[in-house]
Symmetry: C2
Subunit: 130 residues, 2 copies
Amino acid sequence: METLSHSEEQVMTALWNCGKPATRREIAACLPADCTWADSTLLNFLLRLENKHFVRSEKQGNRNIYTPLVRQVTYCGAVSAAHLQRLYRGDLKAMLGALADTGRISFTDMERLARYLDNRAAESPEYDYD
Amino acid sequence: METLSHSEEQVMTALWNCGKPATRREIAACLPADCTWADSTLLNFLLRLENKHFVRSEKQGNRNIYTPLVRQVTYCGAVSAAHLQRLYRGDLKAMLGALADTGRISFTDMERLARYLDNRAAESPEYDYD
DNA sequence: AAATATCTTCCACAAATGTAAAATAAATAA
DNA sequence: TTATTTATTTTACATTTGTGGAAGATATTT
């Protein structure tokens, strides 16, 4: 999958958060507060996203409607897998370890996470018999 | 923490893998096979890493010995925390969810991970009484 | 219809990144 | 001690990224 720059990713996130195809204005409204970009800046990122086939735009009068072409979970899954690969040779435990060792997740977090995983595992589709 | 580009990160990883202060040659030997860089390329990345205070270099005759100034776990923890923040608003469960939903971790992986977390939680320093 | 406001596209430019040739310095061999 | 090899530093350049002005459309108001 084609990779996105930090800004491009922020724009995609805003568009995903819109929940439906959106205009440049609506996307801007979903952007985090610290993105005080000029209109042309945002539009430029949207252009670049279009070239990377992450969005499609169709003209409606004089404005564009942007539609995401990649689902958020697809993108996030791919990026996280790459992250894991790059930093931990794909070993998720190593990542959890680094987070714990640097005080970013606590004992309680780990317990909760373990419960969450147990639950997810329990309802995993691999266990639907019929 | 200052951020690293992908190439710079690869160099740091190689240096960390050396396990001790290393020369450019030794670092090159620890690099993944697909990094077929010219010497000056690698040296340039080391220069940039020095400017970012990720390594220190001291001259030994005509060659340099490079020493990491940032521990791998420190860097990885910071980068992973940022990753989590950017893509999942800091919600680790959301990340696990995305990995599971895109077929990157299986039922078995989740179970194993849950066990791992239980163990880590059990021996968490927060539970050392005296 | 003319003036005005909106929107988008194009162009521009600085900074960061990937990459390496050319220049330089130090060590070694002849 | 002069050549030769080995390292490093300097310089350079293309591409990507962050950012926005200017120019060109389209719509709206007077």
